[in-house]
């Protein structure tokens, strides 16, 4: 493992809020905030990667299949040193390659373009099979949303990966219980998401997606499980960390105004910004 910066979850949230505010446009805030701890533990303690050498051939691969949450992903990539603050400040501005969904750019640490839900896990399966064929000591991590798991293509991959026993593949479901329109009612009563993954033959680890110790243990257990793929079904709170955004789907995709920005800083316990 190379030296890594110590990044706090609060820092990640601050960068998310600052970046959304700076761009002045609507951004996917709620689903970015819900996955902060998951991504931060992954990039800080689990993923084999070298931000100074983003195309390092031995790196693990991370795919943000729930691509609309790109803001949280970019905050992480910035804080781990893939690009500087000036680059991040171009988010959602004309001419920037940091737009509202991930656009593949290996030099920035972005492994694939996403934004059409339900495609990242298939790609991840292919990456894992490719690594397996060369017997490479690398792994693939794919972040999905629970809303995204509505897409049938997710389950095509799920069945095939389990049947093949593709253990280099680790899925993380940021189960924040919402989608664009509101509650994710597909798994509300008669079926539960973790149960479906279990039925599909995956090693299922259910955790609190904001508990760093549980996240750490889950990734370790996933790595140790060599019989097949693992999914970490992480129960999270959409908008986590900013009280008025928590479980409030108005913040699925919205813009942060000056007044809201001040409230965000207060909610995060940060000093007000002058000006």
């Amino acid at each position: 493992m190379t030296d890594r910066p110590v990044v706090s979850d609060l820092q990640v949230r601050e960068v998310i809020v600052n970046t959304a505010f700076n761009c002045g446009e609507s951004a996917h805030i709620g689903g970015s905030l819900s996955m902060v701890e998951l991504l931060n533990v992954l990039f800080g303690e689990v993923l084999k990667h070298r931000p100074a050498e983003p195309e390092w051939p031995d790196r693990d691969l991370f795919i943000l299949s729930k691509g609309h949450a790109v803001l949280g992903y970019l905050a992480i990539l910035h804080l781990y040193g893939y690009f500087d603050a000036d680059k991040l400040a171009t988010f959602q501005t004309n001419g920037s390659d940091l737009i509202a969904h991930p656009v593949k750019k290996l030099k920035l640490g972005i492994e694939s373009s996403n934004g059409s839900l339900g495609q990242g896990l298939s790609f991840g399966l292919g990456l894992a099979i490719g690594m397996e064929m060369k017997d490479e000591d690398r792994r693939v991590y794919v972040m999905l949303g629970d809303g995204e798991c509505n897409e049938g293509s997710v389950w095509e991959t799920a069945a095939l990966a389990a049947e093949r026993g593709t253990h280099r593949l680790c899925a993380i479901v940021d189960e924040n219980h919402f989608r664009n329109d509101g509650a994710n009612t597909t798994y509300a009563n008669k079926i539960k998401l973790a149960g479906i993954w279990r039925a599909f033959g995956w090693n299922v680890i259910e955790i609190d997606g904001h508990d760093r110790a549980q996240i750490r243990d889950a990734f370790a257990a996933a790595r140790a499980h060599e019989a097949g793929p693992t999914v970490i079904v992480a129960s999270t709170i959409k908008g986590r960390g900013i009280d008025f955004m928590e479980a409030n789907n108005d913040w699925h995709h919205n813009r942060i105004t000056s007044a809201v920005y001040s409230e965000c800083r207060r909610a995060l316990g940060l000093e007000p910004v002058d000006g």
Binding site: N22, A100, A259
Partner: protein
């Protein structure tokens, strides 16, 4: 705590909810609801985009005929076909990319082949979104018009939406509606535009140049016509909202009466309005000087619509330049 610069200039002084503010027109949502109130056959299916497809209006007033399928467009289209088979007129909704490209085989086999009354209502056509390539439909006209039995319509703007929805209800077979959510309703002084499947509409008569446009490029063509008039060229502008069946008679007659024909579309020049016009003219033996304005053979990027129009060739200026280059030949 971080070195991220704070640009306090970048924010907004007020705290309005942009998410809902952007959807003030609801032209489509109102039109569909009006049809559904009068026609109990109409059902509405959604794939988690009730706000941006304006179908929350339908959901709130006619919940028994509204079906939220979740984020699963392929399932929605297949189910819409089944419901249509039972006598419903099924309107299925998503963004243009997801209601065409993502579900193409379901549309082909479950909707177009059996010629069922499924109406595929798509939003954010072409480069009208900052959300990037995943959300930019620049190939949907080409895809949908290649399907037998499919009708393809792109209204020029909110002033034509109600007529288009009515036509889709009345048409017995499958229809693809390519629509843009307007930020404002047409004001009361704007005459509503009629629409008839298979018919284009001449909006302005001229003698030298014919501009054939669809969707947001109709307005761009009208603006280009003004600029060309300043340069002494007399320009006809036609709204070719019926993309399939295409108004071949109109296209050919315009080609025979004008020295220059230019098409303009918020779509790839491969397989869209430009292609269908070229095919029609060639087959009829009409040979004007001909040009196509539209997205070239590229994927675009995420940015504002104005920026993208400028960078990918969709402005009145681009139409003017295309006409002038043909004029100079």
């Amino acid at each position: 705590m971080t070195d991220t610069p704070i640009r306090t200039m970048g924010g907004f002084a007020d705290a309005r909810d942009h998410r809902h503010e952007a959807l003030t027109s609801r032209t489509y949502g109102r039109a569909l609801l009006a049809e559904a109130r009068a026609d109990p056959r109409i059902v509405c299916l959604g794939a988690d985009l009730s706000q941006p497809t304006e179908t929350f209006l339908f959901r709130d007033e006619l919940p028994d005929r509204f079906f939220m399928m979740g984020i699963q467009e392929a399932n929605m289209v297949g189910a819409a076909a089944g419901m249509a088979r039972c006598g419903d007129v099924a309107f299925a909704h998503s963004f243009c990319v997801f209601i065409t490209r993502r579900v193409y085989d379901q549309v082909a086999m479950q909707v177009a082949y059996p010629r069922l009354p499924v109406k595929l209502a798509g939003f954010i056509p072409g480069l009208t979104t900052p959300l990037g390539v995943s959300h930019q439909a620049t190939d949907d006209i080409a895809l949908m018009r290649a399907l037998p039995h499919m009708t393809v319509i792109e209204p020029s703007g909110p002033e034509q939406v109600a007529a288009v929805v009515r036509a889709a209800v009345d048409h017995p077979g499958p229809v693809y509606l390519r629509m843009q959510v307007a930020s404002a309703r047409p004001d009361e002084t704007t005459p509503l535009k009629p629409f008839e499947i298979g018919r284009g509409q001449v909006l302005r008569e001229g003698e030298d140049v014919a501009l054939l446009a669809c969707g947001m490029m109709v307005e761009a063509a009208l603006s280009a016509a003004d600029r060309l008039a300043d340069r002494g060229l007399s320009v006809t502008v036609a709204n070719m909202a019926s993309l399939k069946p295409y108004d071949t008679d109109l296209a050919v007659s315009l080609a025979r009466r004008h020295r220059i024909v230019v098409t303009a579309e918020n779509h790839s020049v491969i397989g869209g309005l430009g292609s269908m016009t070229a095919e029609a003219l060639m087959l009829a033996g009409a040979a004007p000087r001909f040009g196509m304005v539209g997205v070239q053979d590229v994927f675009a990027e995420g940015a504002t619509t104005d920026y993208l129009a400028e960078h990918y060739g969709l402005t009145p200026h681009h139409i003017v330049q295309k006409v002038l280059s043909l004029h100079a030949l």
